[in-house]
Symmetry: C2
Subunit: 342 residues, 2 copies
Amino acid sequence: MSTTLQNDQFRLAARPVGLPRPDGWQRTSEPVRAIVDGEVVVKTLYLSLDPAMRGWMNEGKSYIRPVAIGEVMRAGGVGVVVASKSPRFAVGDHVAGGLGVQTYWTGAADDKSANLTKIGARMAPLTTWLNTLGMPGMTAYFGLLEVGQPKAGETVVVSGAAGAVGQTVGQVAKHLGCRVVGIAGGQDKCDFVVKELGFDACIDYKNGDVREGLKQHCPNGVDVYFDNVGGDILDTVLMRINMKARIVICGAISQYNNTSAVKGPANYLSLLVNRARMEGIVVFDYAARYQEGVAALAKWMQEGTFKSREDVVEGFDKFHDALLMLFEGKNFGKLVLKVAEA
Amino acid sequence: MSTTLQNDQFRLAARPVGLPRPDGWQRTSEPVRAIVDGEVVVKTLYLSLDPAMRGWMNEGKSYIRPVAIGEVMRAGGVGVVVASKSPRFAVGDHVAGGLGVQTYWTGAADDKSANLTKIGARMAPLTTWLNTLGMPGMTAYFGLLEVGQPKAGETVVVSGAAGAVGQTVGQVAKHLGCRVVGIAGGQDKCDFVVKELGFDACIDYKNGDVREGLKQHCPNGVDVYFDNVGGDILDTVLMRINMKARIVICGAISQYNNTSAVKGPANYLSLLVNRARMEGIVVFDYAARYQEGVAALAKWMQEGTFKSREDVVEGFDKFHDALLMLFEGKNFGKLVLKVAEA
């Protein structure tokens, strides 16, 4: 391989207070080093931008260690192998894994934290492997099935409905025979999930009253709530849950950039009144079953009964601005940064 | 029967804002009416005073309908049958059920809301039937076993540890082979649950730091938290839970008299980080299995490995003052109002 390849990087320079700031990143560039036996070089094609990234920038115990100051920012991505001294991957293979916010990833083919896996570029577009067939899809699939446990005929509500996780939650629930009501910001997102994805209804929280919307669209109450947002919306849904309801705590994007304390769900005693359950989900727990999830979702996609929508921002340099789109609700579908041509 | 019996009552006169006030009750007195076939008259001996009573005084949907304005205040109690035209109960039988805050209960022997059941006065003292062998005991037993699902060797934390529910939760958990740490207000209560009831440790939240106490006494983290109090203590425990922890939401006495909104658990995202579960329990769901619970607890009591502590206040007129003791944490053990001599 040529050693003239240059690896550009975004490193975490400072832990943000509130929204990430442009000066919280350190831009670096270094030559891609020569590889030894067992190693590969992956050229980054697309990076996944996820709300969870905000949490990784904080100090303190979480479900994964924080990104260290000075470390390349953690991110999932898909890329193409451009050099290989490993039997696991050949040059030209497409892979998904924890590539980080950099233009080249170099390391052992079996590196645990990168967890590279070969992906079928013919099976689905590359960006789909960061969405429905990637972490967000797996989060949605296993979170809904294993924690939400919806039954046919039940009402499933999902917030962040047009986002990466929400779009899959809703479509899986429809496939299971549930009534599905989304909550999203803006009429265009609501139109999308109802008209394109087949949700039964969608509540536009930016231009309508969520409480009234739930009354109207969930006449039989809420059996499963898949929460990606937290805050007031979680509290509002808590007032409409049914007996033995299941609330899947997947994220709380409304709270990630708080500079004061997280707003806890003031209506949590509805769990008592309704003998209901609130439970967290982290996708890594289902790693051994990803193939099962990918197979189910890919089958529906091939049958044409399941859609995957990505919002692609072009240009590695746009990383910071693109990340902020998540917290402003500006992305429409799974947010992806295009780093290089496939 | 003599019709000169006089039934004294506390009726709800106004819905309280914050703590119940003396003028929120209407005192009434009426002659005990003659009974018809199928009816009984029960003389109230002891009334159960419970945190849940505060919730019943509020308007609005809950797990049970609110007490109406002008209605006799709802309360569980034990009494003795003093007149009977029902084959179910004979004069002299001791019964437990929803007698209400009145000196005599009159109605059909099979009245659904009173749900009278014969109790064995020889099996355990009458007051125990309002504690370990009554609703608090059943709440603790089924809430811990069915929702908390503790396994031997796990750490169980219970707040309101010296209270009616807490004392049973902790002792059942000890019988299951768990490490048990109580949280209670005051050194005397802490001494009681450790020295008398056999808890492994107790944190005095009034004179110590709960966070430090949990660090010290739960070196392996918290697997099950049985919450009777809500508020800051719930938040503090949330920061110490283990992976796959179970939080039983049984009550939130710290929040019942709030005049502003309930304080939601700001640290609820610990459920996500730890893939943990928070679930409500209402004892009535286990009504069909009360005999199972009574049998288990009574057996341990007879073996001398289980204690039941009641705090008895004497005098029907003391009802209001005694009720307030609950919210001031002044009761020591299950709070019971003695209405008449057995």
